[in-house]
């Protein structure tokens, strides 16, 4: 029965992926992509990747979907693509080559070693020394903490890039368009009701991350989504990007991470090492410091380049 569900999932995933890439209508393609993200989350659950399922549900189908929806509506390409400007005689070689790459990869899947190499035993053996119970959090914040630090920096680099795309008169201004809605309409109502729930869930997902699936990133995504909801309903406006508090909040998390890293030099003998007995508190401290920075950077990445001056 499990195999049947997996097969069904696989077929649906492929159908939706094909739909997403081939559909004529831009909006339909994006809708397909959002649905596809939700299905991917199911696939991750089937592959025992609950942490990834959370991330996929939050990012793949949530934030990326919103990003693409916004883009589609601003580009006004909801009309049909209007024929293919691509050279149609190159479609056949493109299809053949893509199929060849796909086929080669499939052969690789079956050529993987019979006894799969794995680091699970290493992680299991060292999990106790990290004092957290979620092995993925242990990898993310102890064994390979550098990658997590870099991940936070990647987001900031992308934000620098996005901001650099504002037009000169609007540099330093407010990102995104001013949103309006009926003050007593259903949207404003949703934007008042949903965020408290979302914030509680976000905080819970963040807090539970040390021992169970979850963590700062998934929590921050939920918080960012709730912030955006309030903005979309016009209940609040995005802050101008020249604000010092905003910029300090953006970099505070990564800087705190680096500071804790250097603290480890003194107390535990290596950069990004933690002294025994303080591992879990320090890991939670880092996650807590990253949470607001990540929430802001995710929200701001979705809002895009500044499009307006400082006045609301």
């Amino acid at each position: 029965m499990m195999t049947f569900v997996n097969l069904l999932l696989a077929v649906l995933l492929l159908a939706l992926a094909a739909w997403t890439t081939l559909a004529r209508n831009m909006f339909a393609a994006v809708v397909g992509f959002i649905a596809y993200g939700a299905l991917l989350a199911l696939a991750w659950v089937q592959l025992s990747g609950i942490d990834i399922a959370l991330t996929e549900a939050a990012i793949g189908s949530g934030l990326t979907g919103l990003l693409l929806l916004n883009a589609a509506s601003r580009l006004h390409v909801n009309a049909n693509a209007g024929g293919n400007t691509g050279r149609s005689r190159l479609r056949v070689p493109a299809a053949l080559l893509s199929a060849a790459v796909s086929g080669a990869l499939m052969l690789c899947v079956f050529a993987l070693p019979e006894t799969p190499p794995t680091l699970a035993p290493d992680v299991a053996a060292n999990l106790a020394s990290t004092e957290v119970r979620n092995p993925i959090t242990a990898v993310l914040l102890a064994f390979r903490a550098m990658d997590t630090l870099l991940e936070a920096i990647v987001l900031l680099f992308a934000l620098i890039g996005v901001w650099s795309l504002s037009s000169d008169p609007h540099w330093g201004g407010r990102p995104g368009l001013r949103q309006y809605s009926e003050p007593n309409g259903i949207l404003a109502y949703t934007a008042r009701v949903l965020p408290p729930i979302g914030i509680v869930v976000g905080a819970y997902i963040f807090w539970t991350g040390a021992d169970y699936p979850g963590g700062k990133f998934q929590g921050a995504t939920l918080l960012a989504a709730m912030w955006l909801l309030v903005l979309m309903a016009g209940l609040a406006d995005a802050p101008p990007i020249r604000r010092t508090w905003l910029r300090v909040a953006l970099v505070a998390g990564p800087l705190a991470f680096i500071a804790v890293g250097f603290l480890g030099l003194q107390t535990a003998g290596a950069f990004l090492a933690y002294p025994e007995g303080f591992v879990k508190p320090l890991i939670i401290a880092i996650e807590l410091a990253l949470l607001p920075s990540l929430t802001l950077v995710l929200g701001l990445l979705l809002l895009g380049a500044p499009l307006r001056g400082e006045e609301p």
């Binding site: 790459v101 064994f143 000169d168 540099w171 970099v251």
Partner: protein, 589 residues
Amino acid sequence: MPPVPEQAVTSAGGLLLVIAVLLPFVGVLIGIALRGVHARRVALCTLPLGLAIAIAIAVTVLQSGAQLTYLLGGWAPPLGVALRADMAAVVMLVVVAVVVCGIGIYACDDFNPARESPGPRASSTFWLLLLAVWGSLNLVFVSGDLFTLYVALELLTFAGVPLVCLDGRGDTLRAALRYLLFALLGSLLYLLGAVLLYGAYGTLDIALLRAASVPEPVTWAALALATTGLLAKTALFPLHIWLPPAHAGAPAAASAVLSALVIKGSWFLLIRLWFDALPGVVTFSAAQVLGALGAIAIVVGSVVALRQARLKLLVAYSTVAQIGYLFLMFPLAFDAGSNMLVHDAALTGGILQGISHATAKASMFMAAGLISAALGHDRIADLAGVARAMPITVLTFAVAGIALMGIVPSGAYLAKKLLLESAADSGQWWWTLVLQGGAAFTAGYVVLVLVNVLRRPGGAHPVIKRVPAVSEYAALALAVCSLLLALAALGPLPAHLISNPLAAGELLATLLVLLGGVLLAQGLSLHPLFAAAPAATMPASGLLRRSAGATGVMFARIDLLARGWTVACISLLVVALLFGGLLFFGARG
């Protein structure tokens, strides 16, 4: 073989590697927080500190004579991530630090947020991006883990893309978007390779992979995919889709960063992959094809460079050609005896070539930018009188040109000698032709520019705006570095190699290269060097020039076709499948 015991422990002074990576990143973070004019100040403070760190790493490695290792968090690979700096990484760290400092000084005046032009947005962003590129490159050089390297590549891309479109005009935005999409595709292919390697060997650590990897289908597929992805990011012809348009509109300092530095990241990672992670998986034929792609890049890039009407684009296409040069070491370093790539003179020559290119190309873009700023245009045909008005800048261009040509006295001369010797030793005489021919092509476009700037101006004084002297000297200093740095960087070289660079044979070779360059420039360029060649003297020359012109137009067409999105993607997949096939059948046969 890398010393195995070393990888398991942190070596003394290893912390310097962490600082080398994090210092520019912290600079970016502080720059974001302080914004505006402070971003420039933070960057200018970070530059000397970073240079000092790079030199400290070099001193430490030279003193200990072993590679520097740092285990992050005290966790040894495969569970943890190690930072390592061998000699090649150290050389790259130092050279990149020098180039970044040079670019910083050059751009000091251009990108001043307090000034009207180019405005606070472009100027403060530029400084953040410069630091971002620097930190990402340092991470590429020292990281020993394929996934951390993936993140480093993406950091580099995200820092590089906004540099392309700093001025915010439509065509640069389009170039930036093309660059981003193509580079992202490249990163994904690289990541796919890394994923397959993890599936096969359960580790992403380069030293452990070297010990564990064996020639088998999954490894071949991984190497082919990762190589193709990295070639796309390095913009090796025919995967140079983004490079020329990106340089057409970018500010000179940004062009210098992109052309001299950013592409070196993926190039260096390719060296890591081929020489350090999977040297035994590489086959003779795959290495030959990689070199052949380089040779094609040299020919097409050079011919198209000679056909350009604008100086900036000429320098951009010369980058396309020079990138080809950087791949000639791969076939030459293949050791037929052990059937694998080895660290030998060819690799030394290749790295030397890379650092000469980094410094020389940065200074060449700066010189081109200064000329363009002073004249208000960069049409090659209208450069007459520039030599008299801007002697230092023209000297910079000439010195950088000498360094790129690889003639006496430059670091690239040594690099070329090393590669020529490898070619002779391994009996691969065909690469000798490519090496000498490439030098002649380089001589061609350098001579083309120099002849034009040395002309007497026909009318009024051409310079409409004075350029800051500090920028001129920064560019000159980098050009001189390209002559000297290479000598200092690599330490002892085989004595016979530099026995007598002024011997008659060497001088003759140099003259031949220059003469070849003059002929190529005369035949192929839009405006012949010696326009007044009397037709009566040689009726054949007209025919020759017409056929050369037709060849030039054909190459320009090929270049334009190759840079179309669909064609470029198809070439990418063809290259991937080609490498996969070569590895598969090469190992069999």
